[in-house]
C-alpha cells in the first residue's frame, strides 16, 4: 500500500514540477477550517490582482505571473508541506497570512534565501531588517496596532486614562499574545489597568470571558481575534450589551464576515486598519473589466471589495511593486528571489505611485530600508455601519507610539539574534 502510494506521489510530483512560470508568487491560502472566513477573501484578492496584471499588462515587466495555491488550513504542518512543495518552483516571495506558519518559515526562508512579507502580522521584531534580512512586515505590525488602539482610546477620553480599565480579548496563540508586552508598557505610561482574557483555538467558546467582562465592566475591550473567534466575540459583546463603540478589534478582526452575523447589534463596532476599505477606487474598474467580467475571479467571486479582500489585493500590489523595483535595480525582467529581496528592501510607496496604480489615498506612504523592514506604523480606526453595511474610517491615520514600540522591537530582535547566534548587519 505504502509503496504504491509513494510511487503515485512521486509521479504526481514529477508531473507538477515543470509547470514553473516566469514569476512565481505562491499563495499559501486557507479556504477550509475555522479561519476560512478570513482566508478566503485574502486569497481571492491576492489572486485577482495578479490575474489583473496578467490580463491587462501581460504580467510584470513583460513576464507572466503564476500564483500556485496551496491549502494550509491555518495548520503549521500543512504550511511546511506547502512551503516545501512550492519553494523549488522559483517562488519569489511568501505571504503565509498566519503568524504560526510565519514563525516556522522565518528560519526556513532565511536558509533558502526567499523573502517573506507579513503585512500586519507575523513576528513584529522582524521590522529590524539587520536581524531579519529576509522577512518584511511593512506597513504596520501588531505592536503598532496595539499602540494606535490605545491612542484612539486616549483621544476618546480626552488624553487621560488614569484608573481606566482596558481588557484584551486575544486568540491564545503566538498571534494573540503579540500585543501583550506593548499594552503592558503602555499601561505603565498611561496608567490604565490591563486585563488579559485568552480565548483558545478555534474560539467558539467565549462565554466565560464575556461573563468576566460583564462582571468587571472594563471601559474598553481590545480584541486580537481571527476567523470564527471574531464573529463569536462580536455576538457575545452584543449579548451582554457591551457598548460597541468601546470595543476595538485589530485589523484581522475587522471584516464584514465578523460583524454581519450579529446584525444591527454590531453597529458602532470599531476595528483598526492599515489601508483604506471599500471598492470605490479606479483599480476596481480595471478589475471588473479585465477579471470579474471575464469570469476569471478567484474562488467564488463573492468577496470583491470586502475588507480582507482589499488587504489581499494590497498585499499583492506591494509585492508586485517590489518586483518592479527589483527589475529596475537589476536591469532584468527575470528576477530571482535574491533580487526580489533587494526590490523589497528598496521599495518606496508614494502617493503618486498609488494614484497611478488606481488606488489613490488607499495606503500609507513608506520607504523600506535595511534598518526598517516594517514601515512607519500608521493605522486608522474604522467603524461598522450596520445599516449601510460598510466600514467607515472615523479617524485619520495615526502613527504608533514609536518611543514605546521601537525599544521593544530592538530588545526582542536582539534576543532572537542572541538565541540564534546572528550578527546583525546591513550591507
Amino acid at each position: 500500500m505504502k509503496t504504491r502510494l509513494t510511487a503515485l506521489a512521486l509521479g504526481a510530483l514529477m508531473a507538477a514540477g515543470p509547470a514553473a512560470a516566469d514569476l512565481v508568487f505562491p499563495s499559501l491560502s486557507y479556504r477550509t477550517g475555522p479561519y476560512a472566513a478570513g482566508g478566503i477573501p485574502f486569497a481571492d484578492g491576492y489572486a485577482d490582482y495578479f490575474t489583473l496584471l496578467n490580463e491587462r499588462d501581460g504580467g510584470i515587466g513583460g513576464e507572466k505571473i503564476d500564483v500556485p495555491e496551496c491549502e494550509t488550513a491555518y495548520n503549521t504542518e500543512k504550511g511546511v508541506e506547502c512551503y516545501e512543495s512550492t519553494k523549488d518552483l522559483g517562488s519569489l516571495v511568501y505571504q503565509p497570512l498566519s503568524t504560526g506558519i510565519t514563525y516556522q518559515l522565518i528560519p526556513k526562508v532565511t536558509a533558502d534565501g526567499i523573502p517573506m512579507l507579513t503585512s500586519g502580522l507575523g513576528r513584529t521584531s522582524a521590522k529590524n531588517g539587520a536581524m531579519f534580512p529576509w522577512v518584511f512586515n511593512f506597513p504596520a505590525n501588531y505592536w503598532d496596532g496595539a499602540s494606535v488602539a490605545i491612542k484612539h482610546i486616549l483621544d476618546e477620553e480626552g488624553g487621560d486614562l488614569k484608573g481606566k480599565k482596558v481588557a484584551l480579548v486575544y486568540h491564545n496563540s503566538a498571534y494573540g499574545k503579540e500585543p501583550i508586552r506593548t499594552l503592558e508598557e503602555l499601561s505603565k505610561k498611561h496608567g490604565y489597568d490591563l486585563t488579559l482574557l485568552p480565548v483558545d483555538h478555534p474560539g467558539q467558546e467565549q462565554k466565560s470571558q464575556w461573563l468576566q467582562i460583564r462582571r468587571e465592566k472594563p471601559d474598553y475591550v481590545i480584541m486580537y481575534g481571527w476567523g470564527v473567534m471574531n464573529q463569536v466575540a462580536v455576538q457575545e459583546a452584543v449579548n451582554i450589551r457591551f457598548p460597541m463603540d468601546h470595543f476595538i478589534g485589530i485589523w484581522w478582526s475587522g471584516s464584514e464576515n465578523d460583524v454581519l452575523p450579529a446584525g444591527e447589534g454590531a453597529d458602532g463596532y470599531k476595528a483598526l486598519t492599515f489601508h483604506n476599505l471599500g471598492d470605490n477606487y479606479p483599480l476596481y474598474d480595471d478589475l471588473k473589466s479585465y477579471v470579474y467580467d471575464k469570469g476569471l475571479s478567484a474562488g467564488a467571486g463573492d468577496q470583491h471589495g470586502t475588507a480582507i479582500y482589499d488587504r489581499g489585493m494590497y498585499g499583492a500590489m506591494l509585492v508586485a511593486e517590489a518586483a518592479k523595483t527589483a527589475q529596475k535595480i537589476h536591469g532584468t525582467s527575470k528576477i530571482t528571489p535574491a533580487m526580489m529581496r533587494d526590490g523589497m528592501e528598496a521599495l518606496e510607496m508614494t502617493e503618486e505611485k498609488m494614484t497611478a496604480l488606481g488606488l489613490p489615498n488607499f495606503g500609507p506612504e513608506f520607504k523600506v530600508s535595511c534598518e526598517n523592514h516594517g514601515g512607519n506604523g500608521f493605522a486608522a480606526i474604522g467603524q461598522w455601519d450596520a445599516k449601510a453595511h460598510e466600514w467607515k474610517l472615523i479617524t485619520d491615520y495615526m502613527q504608533s507610539d514609536q518611543d514605546v514600540v521601537q525599544p521593544l522591537i530592538e530588545a526582542d530582535s536582539m534576543a532572537f539574534g542572541k538565541e540564534n547566534n546572528i550578527t546583525p548587519g546591513c550591507k
Binding site: E77, E84, Q104, S173, A174, P198, D412
Partner: protein
C-alpha cells in the same frame, strides 16, 4: 512460494524465537533497513524529508508509544498530544539550557521527563478503567497544554509563547534549524525509530509485555496469577510516554522547528495518533508503522493527485480529503477491525501457501 518454511530448520531456542523466524521475512527486514539507512539518505530532498518521511518517522514513534499503552496494556489514552507537548517543551528547555550537549542526549532525556509525567498521569489508571480512564487522560491532555501555555518559564518568556528550536549539532552535523541537511534530519529520526521499534518489539514479547497483555485481557485474572497491576500499568504508562515524549521532542526540534502548544499538540494530535494505532492495528508494532504511513502519506498523495494532477481547486480537494480519510477509517473499521497489521498477516498466510492453496 514466498514465506516458504520448508528447509528452514531451527536448531536452537534462540533461532526459534527470533523476531522474524521465516527466512524470507528476515531478509526482507534487512533489505528494508539497508535501503532506509544506505540508499534513501542519498536520494532524499527537502520535500521528501519534510513533507513525508520525517513526519512518518516521528508519528511512527508516537504510534508505537500509544500502541504499547492502548494496544498491549489496554489502557485507552487520549493524552498523547499532551505528552508529546511535554517532550517538546522538555527538549526545548534542555536545548536552551545546555547548548553544548548532544541532541541525542536531549531527546532521550526529554523522553525520560515525559515518562515521569506519564507515570504521574497513569496513577488514576489503578482505580479507573475504560471510558473513565479515557476521560482522565483527556484531562491530562487539556491540563498539560494549558500549563505549558500558561507558565512563561516553559517557553523562556518569549513574547509570542512560541518555542523555536535553535541550531544544534550532532557530531558536527547540523540537526535542528533550517540549515540542517535533510539527510541528516532523516537519519536522526530513523535512528530513533529503529531503536524504538527494536526496543518495543523486545519489550512486548518479554516478561513485561506478557504482563501488559495479561492486564489487557483480564486484569482480575492477571492479578490472581501474580501480575502486579500497579507495576504493570505504570510501566506501560512510563514506556509509552517515553516513546511519545521522544516523538514530541523530534516533532518540535527537527521537524517543525517552531511550535505553539495549543496548535501543534491539541486534542487533534491525540486523535490522529489514536487513529494511526487503530487503523494500523492494535497490539502490533508493524501496525504502528503502517498506520503512521497511511495517515501521513494519504493526505499528501490526495493533495498531489487532486491539485497538481487534476487541477482542482484547493478547497475542494481539502474537503474531499476529509471525506475520503473519514470514509476509509469507517471502511477499515467495518471490514478489518484489526487494522492494516491484520491485513498483512492474512496476506502472509496466503503467500505461504501460494501458489498451491489446499
Amino acid at each position: 512460494m514466498f514465506y516458504r518454511e520448508a528447509g528452514d530448520f531451527k536448531t536452537s531456542y534462540q533461532q526459534d524465537s527470533q523476531t522474524f523466524p521465516i527466512r524470507f521475512d528476515r531478509y526482507r527486514y534487512y533489505v528494508v533497513l539497508a535501503v532506509a539507512f544506505g540508499v534513501v539518505p542519498f536520494l532524499i530532498n527537502d520535500y521528501w524529508a519534510n513533507a513525508i518521511l520525517v513526519p512518518f518517522l516521528i508519528y511512527a514513534i508516537a504510534a508505537i508509544g500509544l500502541n504499547i499503552l492502548t494496544g498491549y496494556c489496554g489502557q485507552v489514552s487520549l493524552g498523547t498530544g499532551g505528552f508529546m507537548a511535554v517532550g517538546a517543551y522538555a527538549c526545548y528547555k534542555l536545548m536552551t539550557a545546555f547548548p553544548e550537549v548532544s541532541m541525542f542526549i536531549h531527546v532521550i532525556l526529554a523522553g525520560g521527563i515525559t515518562a515521569a509525567v506519564g507515570v504521574l498521569f497513569g496513577l488514576p489508571s489503578l482505580r479507573i478503567k475504560g471510558f473513565y480512564l479515557a476521560v482522565a487522560t483527556l484531562a491530562a491532555q487539556f491540563f498539560l497544554v494549558w500549563l505549558l501555555n500558561r507558565v512563561p518559564w516553559f517557553y523562556n518568556y518569549s513574547a509570542s509563547g512560541q518555542i523555536s528550536a535553535p541550531e544544534r549539532e550532532v557530531f558536527g552535523i547540523m540537526i535542528t534549524g533550517a540549515n540542517a541537511p535533510s539527510w541528516a534530519v532523516y537519519l536522526f529520526c530513523l535512528i530513533f525509530l529503529s531503536l524504538a521499534g527494536i526496543l518495543a518489539r523486545n519489550l512486548t514479547r518479554g516478561t513485561m509485555g506478557r504482563r501488559w497483555m495479561a492486564i489487557r485481557d483480564m486484569d482480575i485474572a492477571a492479578e490472581i496469577i501474580g501480575v502486579n497491576p500497579l507495576t504493570a500499568k505504570l510501566t506501560a504508562f512510563a514506556v509509552s510516554s517515553f516513546f511519545v515524549g521522544i516523538s514530541g521532542a523530534l516533532f518540535f526540534s527537527v521537524y517543525l522547528g517552531a511550535v505553539e502548544v495549543g496548535e501543534a499538540f491539541g486534542i487533534q494530535k491525540s486523535f490522529l495518533v489514536l487513529f494511526m494505532v487503530i487503523i494500523g492495528g492494535l497490539g502490533s508494532i508493524f501496525g504502528a508503522f503502517a498506520g503512521a504511513a497511511f495517515l501521513v502519506v494519504l493526505p499528501v498523495a490526495l493533495k498531489l493527485v487532486g491539485v497538481d494532477v487534476l487541477g482542482w481547486a484547493t478547497d475542494i480537494v481539502a474537503h474531499l480529503q476529509l471525506v475520503i480519510v473519514g470514509g476509509l477509517i469507517i471502511t477499515f473499521l467495518v471490514l478489518e477491525p484489526h487494522g492494516l497489521a491484520q491485513l498483512w498477516r492474512v496476506a502472509k498466510e496466503k503467500l505461504r501457501l501460494w501458489p498451491f492453496p489446499y
